[in-house]
Symmetry: D3
Subunit: 73 residues, 6 copies
């Protein structure tokens, strides 16, 4: 009876990508852990980059810094 | 000190329905587990059907299949 | 397709209490939101009082202070 | 490898406030628990007051009652 | 920056099974959503069957009923 | 009305460390977001390193590789 919560930054994931992630994770849990798909629920949460903190800053800021570093190389 | 997270598909639940769910769960936890309502928090998350996977597909797809099955009977 | 997570302090809840909480919340979601019980999953997490913070202190400490206040009245 | 989920009511928190919360919690976990910031993720969830239950009612209702009590003093 | 929480009943999953679930989900998120593995965290929670409710009863009870049904066929 | 969930690997955190994390996060939310401590709950989850996946492997394995790399320098 698995419940899976996938939390990602909101980056324009398509409906097809979501369907594929759901299909593959369900298949993994069935094959590896013998979990029944009809008891497997998966919820995908998409989070604004301002609301996701990483390394002490928002993801918005982290990505800006990273882009600046890469363009200055 | 309960915290309860109720995760459901986004199906146009009304404000009154939310209030009733909150009232009843709080009452259950108070009566059965002796939990103080003033220490009981409940968060309702509503999830788009494209973001809820069930049985290896999105809920959007699951509902379509189910409707097709029922109309073909 | 609800998933419900009930988080409470670990206070020796019995198996019967857990079963009753599960029965009542499932019934509430079915009656109020028209959710199918065979798609309703509920997970109860029991948390040590040292790991639950409230009002800026652990629950262990909060309960001690509260007991002291009540006995000194 | 901490993951922190901060769930608050949606009250118009600014981008600057979010950044500061992220900065301070990351710093706390690094200083107190010796956790690496580059392994620390923080997600802030903002919840509508209709979806947050407290003391058996929605936060919307709770705030109304509280405001009424305070203005009637 | 994905965070994935996999919640399953406690059924004696081995260390190898956990490692494989982690490897495959990380690979899925990288291939389908282009997520960096060094920013992907996965937490597996194992829940006692008394603490997992399904269809209005504990999983312990659900499994007993199911076993009884199958043996009586 | 904040609820905060701090998920960390189980590394022998002491009761004092937990109390300090709770105190500081509560203080941050009060000062930065004006949140009342008597409405602030924090739950610390400690996760076995076999159950925490990072970079496609368990944390147990990740730490072994990292230790091996550092000792071979």
């Amino acid at each position: 009876m698995p419940f899976v919560n996938v939390v990602v930054t909101r980056d324009g994931i398509t409906r097809e990508q979501k369907a594929q992630v759901i299909r593959e994770i369900t298949e993994t849990l069935q094959r590896v852990l013998d979990k029944r798909p009809d008891l497997t629920h998966i919820v995908i949460d998409e989070v604004d980059t301002d609301n996701w903190g990483y390394a002490g800053m928002t993801s918005t800021e982290y990505r800006k810094q990273r882009a600046a570093e890469q363009s200055s190389r």
